[in-house]
């Protein structure tokens, strides 16, 4: 982080991208994970929602850690969006099942 190249624009863009992936993407992933737990847990509705909300922050943490641990900024987004899509699918199925 001390060399001249570290202050160059590509580096700053990459960091910004990771930060966005972590903050925004991470929040999205955490929310979707929480929704999944809320819809799929076999407890009462309120209990499932509470469990989902309480656990969401762990998912958020994992997303943030991933976004800075992975090798490129693209991987950061990928690593957050892929689970988000999976959670979204599970949540969609859960909602559809609840309706029928």
């Amino acid at each position: 982080m001390k060399s001249k190249t570290s202050l160059a624009l590509p580096y700053r863009l990459a960091v910004t991208s990771r930060v966005l992936a972590a903050v925004v993407g991470g929040y999205l992933m955490a929310s979707l994970a929480a929704i999944c737990l809320a819809l799929w847990m076999p407890t009462s509705r309120a209990d499932a929602v509470i469990t989902g909300m309480m656990s969401s922050f762990v998912f958020y943490l994992l997303a943030v850690l991933w976004c800075f641990a992975c090798r490129t900024a693209w991987r950061a987004w990928f690593g957050v969006m892929l689970p988000s899509a999976a959670f979204a699918t599970l949540a969609g199925v859960g909602l559809w099942m609840a309706r029928t």
Binding site: I35, A38, R45, D47, I50, M53, M54, S56, A69, R71
Partner: protein, 524 residues
């Protein structure tokens, strides 16, 4: 980020810690003070007398007062005195606006005479409590910001653990008088040794506001009907609305006693009366949160106000509710007796110190590189100013808050707001001072001012009230005496810190150190 996992985590720890460190220091320090908010309020409103607890009398007094002053209010609240808070407080809300935040009128009553207590208006310890999660910002922005800060704190804690390679090897390691090494040892010590507390306090603060910051599951599961969710979780607050016909409210004492019987002798924290003059009046008796570690959101016994009939009692809690209640209860620490409360306080100070030492280390490491030129680049100077203002500046502001409490005239109507303004003005002045003075001077001067202000508080107390140390120690008023003594101790600590900062060697670069070593060798 190509350097490896630990280094990436170290980078994240360093930057997240810096950007949010100043805010987190303030949150932690004011939050730590909040553990003694009742005792602080007692010092700041010495006119509120503590009587031996007599709930029957207090309840009767409160009900009589409210029936005289606010018979047609929509809601009443009665907070009974307990062993930490001697005040009998009543509140009422004239109209209920669903969705809008209520405007309550609050009065402190003397539990013997039933009259308004003419205590000096002050927020007391409540100021620190509210500040640490609302940050003096309009609702709900403060809560959002403090919860975001909590999430960053969580990231900083976990990345700190990951980064600390020798966490077990260096568990007992603290090497003072070794410059930057000592600061890092100290940061690690207060971090690792008190880690259970730090993790608990951080995660629980996320859970406390989770409905606000993570509403997605509520919206998905309840199809947008948040009201239904809250009625499920807090069933007792779903009270019958007013019917529009007048009714006579029964005495509250039998309901109080019946509720206590329901809880096998548990204590009552407060009572809420809805629509007191209506035939559909309902009374909610809330259990004291000091009864259990796990906060029971549903520990409410409800009665009909006009017939005295028991409407509902608290049901058992499900596991998720117990877990949520545990986070809440552990964070608040209201179950803690005097010894445990001091332990909470010390843990909170450790957390504050962890953040503070981190900020100092961040700057110290980078300052070494620029020590030779004597001129600091703008970014580092900014960090230095913010470090001084957010740490010693905040402590000056806290002392100024207490000074304002004793110096502002007791009868002055706006004094409560002015106490708060004094806090922020003092903080602002210290920021200005930090900008105008060079680094070490800024620290030494502010720490010295802080020391003077704190050490003088017991003296100020003696000069302005009759509740000084001589009296409080003699009468066994430990809250009052404890406050004076803690301020004295804080002042001594700040004086020591000022002295240490003044007399420490100027940071030397590696070249400088090598040069002085060779000079020493030549001299020998």
């Amino acid at each position: 980020m190509k350097e490896g996992f630990r280094q990436a985590m170290a980078w994240l720890h360093t930057w997240s810690g810096l950007i949010f460190g100043w805010l987190l220091f303030a949150i932690f320090l004011t939050g730590t003070l909040s553990y003694f908010k009742d005792e602080i309020s007692h010092w700041m409103q010495p006119e509120v007398q503590a009587y031996p607890l007599d709930s029957a009398r207090s309840l009767g007094v409160a009900q009589t007062y409210l029936q005289q002053v606010a018979p047609t209010a929509a809601r009443w609240f009665i907070n009974l005195p307990d062993d930490r808070d001697p005040a009998l407080t009543v509140m009422w809300q004239d109209k209920l606006d669903p969705g809008r935040r209520g405007n309550f009128i609050q009065k402190t009553l003397d539990p013997v005479t039933g009259q308004d207590v003419q205590a000096r208006e002050s927020m007391g310890g409540e100021f620190f409590y509210r500040f640490h999660f609302q940050l003096q910002m309009p609702h709900p922005w403060g809560r959002w910001l403090s919860t975001i800060a909590a999430m960053v704190m969580f990231v900083a804690l976990i990345t700190g653990i990951i980064t600390h390679k020798k966490i077990f090897k260096d568990f007992f390691t603290f090497r003072p008088r070794k410059g930057q090494r000592s600061w890092l040892d100290g940061h690690n010590a207060v971090g690792v040794l008190v880690l259970p507390f730090h993790l608990m306090i951080t995660y629980s603060s996320l859970v406390i506001f989770m409905s606000m910051v993570m509403p997605a599951p509520i919206l998905a599961s309840y199809a947008g009907d948040t009201r239904a969710f809250f009625n499920d979780v807090f069933p007792a607050t779903n009270n019958a609305p007013a019917q529009g016909q007048p009714g006579k409210l029964l005495p509250l004492l039998p309901m109080y006693e019946q509720a206590r019987a329901q809880w096998d002798g548990g204590h009552v924290g407060r009572l809420g009366v809805n629509n007191p003059s209506d035939v559909n009046a309902s009374v909610n008796v809330f259990r004291a949160s000091s009864d259990n570690v796990v906060h029971e959101f549903d520990s409410i016994v409800s009665f009909s106000g006009t017939s005295g009939e028991l409407l509902r009692t608290s049901a058992g809690q499900s596991l998720p509710a117990i877990i949520g209640g545990s986070f809440y209860g552990l964070h608040m620490g209201q179950f803690a007796g005097p010894v445990l409360r001091w332990l909470y306080f010390i843990c909170g100070l450790a957390g504050t110190a962890m953040i503070g030492t981190g900020l100092v280390i961040w700057l110290g490491k980078r300052q070494l590189k620029h020590a030779k030129s004597g001129v600091m680049p703008f970014e580092l100077r900014l960090v230095e100013v913010l470090n001084i203002a957010s740490m010693s500046g905040l402590m000056i502001a806290i002392a100024a808050f207490f000074w304002a409490n004793r110096l502002l005239p007791v009868g002055f109507a706006e004094r409560s707001a002015w106490e708060v303004q004094t806090f922020f003005m003092a903080w602002g002045v210290s920021l200005l001072h930090a900008v105008l003075r060079r680094g070490r001077q800024g620290w030494v001067e502010q720490l010295s001012v802080g020391a003077l202000l704190f050490v003088a508080i017991p003296l100020l107390n003696a000069l302005t009230t009759s509740h000084h140390l001589g009296v409080s120690l003699a009468t066994g008023d430990w809250a009052m005496a404890g406050f004076d003594l803690t301020c004295l101790a804080s002042g001594v600590f700040l004086a020591w810190a000022a002295w240490k900062t003044q007399h420490r060697a100027a940071p030397q670069t590696r070249a400088g150190r090598a040069r002085s070593l060779t000079l020493k060798q030549e001299a020998n």
